[in-house]
């Protein structure tokens, strides 16, 4: 049957199970929007800025494990997506990004709203396409969806010329698998690598598991738990690995790296074997690579071969899906009693897990750590939390304990301020029954605050907790530590967030003392729509502990202990 290119876009998307698209119409994508009402199975969410569309698609993908789809017009519409696409790229999130392009005869003429989008997006996508013929739209979209979600997931761009959307051709759904001869998401390790890994694991006295985003992406949480129960190897997590292994498990050590617990980092430095599961030895995780875990043999399980030996040379590199790999390793590894190693780690731990929160000076002010700890308690640790980037993000990792997979969504690799609110909208669209909380700083929240209107238009219930200290908090902290306390351009004068909520016709609440938190959280949860809570926290608080950028992992700055009089 004859279909227009615009119709084919929606035919293919709905065939492939896409039921939400986040986007913003404009000239070059108008044909696609014109055909949208014919496909009621696809819900369109109108964003307020295309960056929001990309973050929403990303949040949708991270919450559900399915591909998130965003759509924008040519030129400024497409370039506005860039930050969101780069965020998804760094954190391996499967996103399909469809942009309109000027008509094919005008490409290359600097036409109105023309940008070389495939060129702009080249380094921040896994693959990209420019489609100028109607009969290429269906195959291209199928390939793009497949590439985005297979192997190491990532964003894929499909830029479709306006005349290709307007033209028509014969269309028949083709169910055959895509043919991409150069694309090999199926690379797998050789059997001898597994044998060497099992030998090292069984011989290790002080092993540690470093669990990354790959645990969540490959759905390996259960088999990781089985692996840990059998081998009794303690688990440290990267920022994006959090929630992949239950925080309440006795062998969960929490987060490693720059703002990880100092005893976790010390344990890594003392370990004799590191099992890196679906993580990439990011600089925020390893500190100084020259002094990183020198006593440890290293086994790296990773779907992307280019990550192996990139930052840290390893002894065994296993290319493959983490879940499959653990299933292969599991029968070979031996049960071990590692109580001596556990006891040593507990010793390193001392009271430090609770120390920071205990040592906050009692000045009657509200502390972000208290706020987040209380949010964890009052939501029974079950909320799907989406954080922005900065101090609050690190406090979240320290004081909100996640026991269930995919319950923390945060921008790790790119560290994108403004991520939280739009990503939360995407997550809520994917998981409408989840209680979704945004935890954002006053700075990051304002970067994409316009998306509050999107929450209202879509009638979504999202809890927005603004950790408001009137500063770009982490910038201020670095200025305090490394720039002689010169707070250059980090203090912020903010609008009244309660009135801002009011202007959107949603509830705005304010908390200034700790004893108001419980009641406020209760009221927020009772609201039918989105609610904004302005937590007026201590202005000059600091995230401890901290490894200064590039310093040795074991050289952490701890919170100063007040001298007792």
């Amino acid at each position: 049957m004859k279909r227009t290119g615009a119709q084919i876009i929606w035919e293919v998307l709905s065939r492939q199970g896409v039921n939400v698209v986040f986007g913003y119409p404009g000239g070059a994508i108008l044909p696609a929007y014109d055909a949208l009402p014919e496909y009621p199975s696809v819900k369109h969410v109108l964003v307020r800025h295309e960056q929001g569309a990309a973050h929403m698609a990303d949040g949708y993908a991270r919450a559900s494990g399915k591909v998130g789809v965003c759509m924008a017009t040519s030129g400024p519409g497409a370039t506005n997506l860039v930050t969101g696409i780069a965020t998804a790229m760094m954190d391996s999130s499967p996103v399909l990004c469809i942009t309109g392009q000027v008509p094919s005869h005008a490409i290359g003429t600097d036409a109105f709203q023309e940008t070389d989008v495939t060129g702009v997006m080249l380094p921040i996508t896994k693959h990209s396409y420019l489609v100028t013929k109607t009969d290429e739209i269906a195959t291209t979209l199928k390939e793009a969806l497949y590439i985005a979600q297979s192997g190491r997931p990532a964003p894929v761009l499909v830029d479709i010329a306006k005349d290709a959307q307007q033209g028509s051709c014969e269309y028949q759904w083709d169910d055959s698998p895509v043919r991409l001869p150069g694309y090999r998401p199926d690379l797998r390790a050789l059997p001898e690598e597994f044998e060497r890994a099992v030998e090292l694991i069984n011989a290790a006295k002080k092993p540690m598991i470093l669990a990354g985003h790959g645990v969540l992406m490959s759905g390996a949480s259960q088999v990781l738990l089985d692996f840990v129960e059998k081998t009794r190897i303690p688990v440290a997590m990267t920022l994006l690995g959090l929630s992949g292994f239950p925080a309440s498990h006795p062998l969960s050590l929490g987060m490693m790296g720059m703002h990880g617990e100092s005893w976790v980092n010390t344990a890594i430095q003392e370990a004799d074997l590191l099992l890196a599961f679906g993580m990439r030895f990011d600089d925020r995780v390893i500190g100084n690579p020259k002094t990183y875990a020198l006593k440890a043999k290293k086994i790296h399980v990773e779907i992307d071969p280019s990550e192996i030996n990139k930052n840290i040379p390893v002894d065994v590199g296993i290319v493959g899906d983490l879940r499959e790999t653990l299933q292969v390793l599991l029968p070979g590894v031996e049960r071990r009693d590692r109580s001596e190693w556990h006891a040593h780690i507990s010793e390193l731990k001392g009271d430090s897990a609770v120390r920071d929160i205990l040592h906050l000076p009692d000045s009657g002010h509200l502390y972000a750590a208290h706020v987040i700890n209380d949010l964890w308690r009052y939501t029974e640790g079950k909320a799907l939390v989406v954080t922005d980037v900065g101090q609050h993000q690190m406090w979240e990792t320290q004081y909100y304990k996640h026991d269930y997979p995919r319950k923390l969504i945060t921008s790790g690799g790119l560290g994108t301020m403004g991520f939280a609110l739009p990503a939360a909208i995407g997550a809520k669209m994917a998981m409408p029954d989840e209680e979704v909380w945004v935890i954002a700083g006053d700075g990051g929240f304002q970067m994409t605050a316009a998306e509050l209107s999107t929450c209202v238009q879509e009638n979504l219930k999202i809890h927005v907790a603004i950790i408001n200290n009137g500063y770009l908090g982490l910038v201020r902290q670095w200025q305090e530590f490394f720039y002689g306390g010169r707070y250059s351009a980090s203090p912020m004068q903010n609008p009244d967030f309660v009135k801002l909520a009011d202007a959107h016709g949603i509830a705005g609440l304010r908390v200034e003392r700790r004893d108001q938190i419980e009641e406020t959280v209760r009221r927020a949860r009772e609201q039918s729509g989105t609610v904004v809570i302005d937590f007026r926290v201590e202005k000059e608080d600091t995230v401890y502990p901290m490894v200064p950028a590039g310093a040795d992992l074991h050289a952490m700055i701890r919170r100063p202990v007040p001298v007792k009089k």
Partner: protein, 195 residues
Amino acid sequence: MSIPHTFVVYVEDKPGVLNRVVSLFRRRGFNIESLSVGHTDRSGVSRMTIVMEAEEAAARLVEANLYKLVNVLRVEELTDSDAVLRDLALIKVRADTERRAQVLQIVKVFRARVVDVVTDALIVEISGSEDKIDGLVDVLRPFGIIEMARTGTIAMKRGAEAPSIQPHFVHARVPEVPANRSPEDDLPSEERSPH
């Protein structure tokens, strides 16, 4: 230690592929010494020869990243000892009637060819290893080189073997019995061998 690495990269002949490959080197901060691109015996498949100076670990990283490009079919690293490496140059050199005989003598010694002659100059064509061409250029320079064009290295492994589809950069392989793919799938459909 930084040494020259020669990669032969088979790519799908599609728009933007050269850009993707070159962009990868730029993005990861690697320098390309020479790059040459041409057709293969199969339509739809191009072959790039890329020479880069790099340490071993960096070369492995480049290889792994090349492999990640969707349009890259195969990556093969060749070394001097197991491959034939060739460069082609056209050199326009000043040669008036007085000195022409001298130039022709040199051309003969280097087993080069003269492909164009005018009164005052001639064009010499030479193919061979980089060193050999550098040698000829050095000897011709005193006569006056007017212009020169070089192709950059192209390379091919010695012996009867076809290039392997198995990557060497990590201990990994394409599954032996791929669910939906055979090595023949590397070829564009119209070019598949008939058996």
